[in-house]
């Protein structure tokens, strides 16, 4: 019984461990802040996840700012110009 349990847990954790390592490394590549850290080997998964959350929130804010700016631009530009079409496509 213990074997089964350990096998189950180990099998589950085995899959997730490998995948976790892989995914965490991928995330780390995407995060510019973490990339600049010197001790890049020892970054823990929780740290990576935290940084990812922060990064995503930052990107959200960026997107919001940019959409605001683009919408302002859209207002200032003629409606029928190709620029307006482009801006609109970006906003939506």
């Amino acid at each position: 019984m213990s074997n089964r349990r350990s096998r189950q847990s180990s099998s589950a954790s085995r899959i997730s461990d490998d995948q976790m390592i892989d995914l965490v490394s991928k995330l780390r590549q995407l995060l510019p802040e973490i990339r600049e850290r010197r001790r890049s080997d020892k970054v823990s998964a929780s740290k990576v996840l935290q940084e990812t959350c922060n990064y995503i929130r930052k990107l959200h804010r960026e997107v919001d700012n940019l959409s605001d700016r683009l919408s302002q631009l859209l207002d200032s530009v003629d409606e029928d110009s190709p620029e307006a079409a482009v801006i609109r496509s970006l906003l939506m």
């Binding site: 213990s2 349990r5 589950a12 997730s16 823990s44 990812t52 990107l59 482009v86 801006i87 970006l90």
Partner: protein, 539 residues
């Protein structure tokens, strides 16, 4: 406790009501009233005696104080009869219910929780609103709902009724409707239990069906397959409170007939039924959680519960986190087994396990936060969720990059007044630098742009269309920011590495490497040179 008592009383009342076909409600109401804290019924009188008066008094007084605060005992009694008729109308004869109730002691805490959950559902189904409303009643003892706002009612009965109905259900409290109900109840009123039992009773009236079902479950356990009240509320039919053996049967039977919401509850509850009472209480909580989430994904939890019928209760409302929790529990269980062998090793192992557990909890917490950030993420699996997070992050980066490019592209011509001569170039370049410097992430990842062509991103196609446009647009729009346009086009070409001079790429790269160096002169100068080139071409 009060639940059982109330149920018994209800049952008794049922029989009495059936016998009588009451015509004089008031009289009947007073019949069952409070006789030394006990209800005397026509039949099954022996059972009714079991109600503990002091406890009932306490409960009654507390509940009263909470709800209405100024009603007398008689009013309480009057209120109870309201629930009775509902009970009667909905119930079918369940003779065995009482004995079942007697020996399911845990129903008290158990029922109130899921009754509370059930009440909104059953409300719609049941004809008598009051019973439904009253189901939440017992919860008052536990949760002390502040929801009750005793509205100004014409009669004390009405008042009490409203207080009951306010409990947790969302029925409308329109006075006319309630008065109508009142009228209905007065017609079919029957002397109800003592005020002490009222909370429990009210709760119970709604609970009756599940009790019946549970009882049926018990019967099934014994081999007989009875389908107890299949009348309207299928909700309760799904409440299987029987033993584990009949779990599958009932699940299969009732889940098919029940509504999605009920399914969840049924599955969850049926899971519990196999366990001990304490576990069942936990499961009730889980079921309440599940039912709370029912609106979002009704199909999910039943399947989950079905699959994990015999798994830990904790798996009910936790998704993939359960895997780690389970493994943690397993390891924790294994640790104590080793304590006998090598205490030192086991202790360190325990410590290790604990720290491991804490680390895992932290990671799970972060994963959940990440899951919330990602839109439309319905993945249960950790790995797939991380995959989606990675994709989302990439797409977000690309989006920010494109938008910044676009805003930088379109901004300068708008910002600068026409006819500025040389200024536009420098100013536009400065503007470009500023806008470029703003999203350091986006611009700091030129490799992303190369991948951009493969990413199925909406704006991307438009942006690629922009590549041909800039030159045309720059030519179309006279003077002004001719320089600015060109600089913008240069930056755009930079990001779309397909075309565009390498020089643009290098210039942009230099620019991006200097984060937030919006006012630096170097990039401007370079831009200037490139813009000169463009300007020559445009004119």
């Amino acid at each position: 406790m009060p639940l059982f008592e109330l149920f018994r009383l209800t049952k008794a009342k049922l029989e009495s009501a059936q016998d009588k076909n009451t015509s004089s409600p008031v009289d009947e109401v007073m019949e069952l009233v409070w006789e030394n804290g006990q209800i005397s019924t026509q039949s099954q009188s022996s059972r009714s005696r079991n109600i503990p008066p002091p406890q009932a008094d306490h409960q009654a007084s507390s509940s009263r104080a909470r709800e209405i605060g100024n009603s007398s005992k008689t009013t309480m009694v009057d209120e109870i009869p309201m629930s009775v008729p509902s009970l009667m109308t909905s119930l079918s004869q369940d003779d065995d219910l009482v004995p079942w109730l007697n020996h399911h002691q845990s129903l008290d805490g158990y029922c109130s929780d899921f009754l509370h959950d059930v009440s909104p559902v059953t409300v719609n189904e049941q004809e008598s609103d009051i019973a439904v409303n009253q189901t939440v009643f017992p919860l008052s003892q536990r949760r002390n709902n502040g929801n009750e706002s005793a509205p100004a009612a014409s009669s004390s009965q009405y008042n009490g009724f409203q207080s009951h109905s306010l409990y947790g259900s969302d029925r409308d409290r329109d006075p006319p409707s309630q008065q109508a109900k009142l009228g209905r109840f007065t017609q079919t009123q029957e002397p109800l239990t003592t005020p002490s039992n009222k909370p429990g009773f009210i709760n119970f009236s709604h609970f009756l069906r599940p009790a019946a079902l549970a009882k049926t479950n018990n019967n099934n356990l014994h081999g007989t397959k009875e389908k107890s009240p299949q009348s309207p509320p299928n909700v309760f039919q799904t409440r299987v409170l029987g033993a584990k053996d009949s779990e599958d049967k009932f699940l299969n039977e009732y889940i098919a007939s029940a509504t999605p919401k009920d399914n969840q509850k049924a599955c969850l509850i049926s899971e519990d039924s196999g366990r001990k009472d304490q576990e069942s209480e936990k499961a009730v909580v889980c079921s309440s959680v599940g039912s709370g989430n029912s609106l979002d994904g009704p199909s999910e939890s039943p399947s989950l519960s079905l699959k994990r019928k015999h798994s830990d209760i904790q798996d009910i409302d936790c998704h993939s986190d359960d895997v780690e929790e389970e493994s943690g529990d397993v390891r924790k269980e294994a640790a104590p087994s080793r304590t006998g062998m090598g205490s030192k090793r086991s202790r360190s192992a325990e410590v290790h396990n604990l720290s491991e557990r804490r680390r895992r909890d932290r990671i799970n917490e972060k994963m959940r936060a990440l899951q919330e950030l990602i839109p439309n993420c319905n993945k249960v699996d950790k790995a797939s969720m991380l995959d989606e997070a990675i994709e989302y992050l990439k797409s977000l980066q690309l989006q920010v990059q494109i938008m910044s490019m676009a805003s930088g592209y379109y901004m300068p011509p708008v910002m600068f007044p026409p006819g500025m001569g040389h200024y536009p170039a420098a100013a536009a370049a400065a503007a470009m630098a500023m806008s470029m410097g703003m999203p350091p992430y986006a611009m700091g990842l030129p490799d992303l742009s190369r991948q951009g062509s493969s990413v199925n991103h909406g704006p991307q196609f438009h942006v690629s269309g922009m590549q041909q446009q800039p030159m045309a647009m720059a030519m179309a729009i006279p003077r002004v920011s001719g320089g600015g346009f060109y600089t913008g086009s240069s930056t755009m070409d930079m990001n779309k590495s397909d075309d565009g001079s390498t020089r643009d790429l290098s210039t942009s790269k230099d620019q991006t490497t200097m984060k937030n160096n919006s006012n630096s002169l170097k990039p401007i100068k370079r831009k200037h040179s490139s813009s000169d080139q463009f300007r020559g071409s445009s004119s």
